[in-house]
Amino acid sequence: MSAPLIQSLIDKTDSFERVRDQIAAILLLESSAQVVMAAASGKDSTLWNLRVFTERANPWDVFQDPPTGDADDPDFDPSPLVNVSFASETFDKSMGDVFERQQGVALYNIDCYGFAISQEDGDGHKPADNAAALVAQRAARLVRNILSAAKYTYLGLQTKNQGPVSGRWFQSLTAFVPSTNERSIQHVEAVRLVLEVGVVELSPQVVGQTLQAVGIAITRQANGQVLLTADVPPA
């Protein structure tokens, strides 16, 4: 084989990429709307805020230098972080075909990081480990409710029979066991939601070449003889 057979540039995103970005976009859009609704209801709107990332290895580096004591840092945002990352995609041979369309099941890890440091509280204090766990779980609650909403059955990506999403389902929600060996000054706890999404993946097809039009007429004479008349354009 000496010449490439695919004649067109592969310049599209696959469905698993679109779905990852769509998940992040939904979370950002809806959490922002929740903040507005909470403020309108007279509640502490910061409790509904999420900072959304995709495919980040170290999103909670932002928590490394929290203000302590009486110091205030207006640039420090303690809102929980949500990192959406693609984990895997498996394909069902019984669905789809070997030419163009494959039905896949994509898994996404949605990690919710909650941050807290110990806080003075009257004559006592609020411990950071407890607070960070509650923040992470609150973020996970928001994520699960947003993505499980009926309006997002297909994650806003077309309809069931048109793809690319045929449905979504939360496989699990797991709180990570806090490590007691790290002893960081900041407490960060994490909760992972695993979202399973049915997707359709398409592949490059053979580009047909323009054929010459050839007219063929087949007739049967009265004596049963079959005659063929062809009209072939000049070369």
Binding site: H125, A128, V177, R183, Q186
Partner: protein
Amino acid sequence: MSLRQQAAAYARAFLEDSASGFGWPVTVTDPDGNTGELTGYWNDISHSIDPQTGLLVSGRTASVVLSLASLTAAGLGAPHAIADGAKRPWLIEVADLTGNPQTFKVREANPDNALGIIVCVLEGYRK
């Protein structure tokens, strides 16, 4: 003076040598609000940690080593972790090299009664 007493004295001297050593001024506050101005070995570094998500991320750890004798002399006693939210924790306040004040809570205390020192692992604290 026995070797052990000498060792304890040397340990205290090393920790509290702020003129030519690594000693650094810290303010220690006990849960009852009593404070003491001491000198100790304060450490605050960043390193990679594993929050069990499969990825290493940046963390920051801080600690201070103090002389038990100096704490006693200041009328404070030995710091320890306070898990009860109804109580105030032991606090360590220190200014870093650039003068920025930092406030920490004692998260874990490891006394060495043989050398007369105590290692306090710290976490951030907001007043």
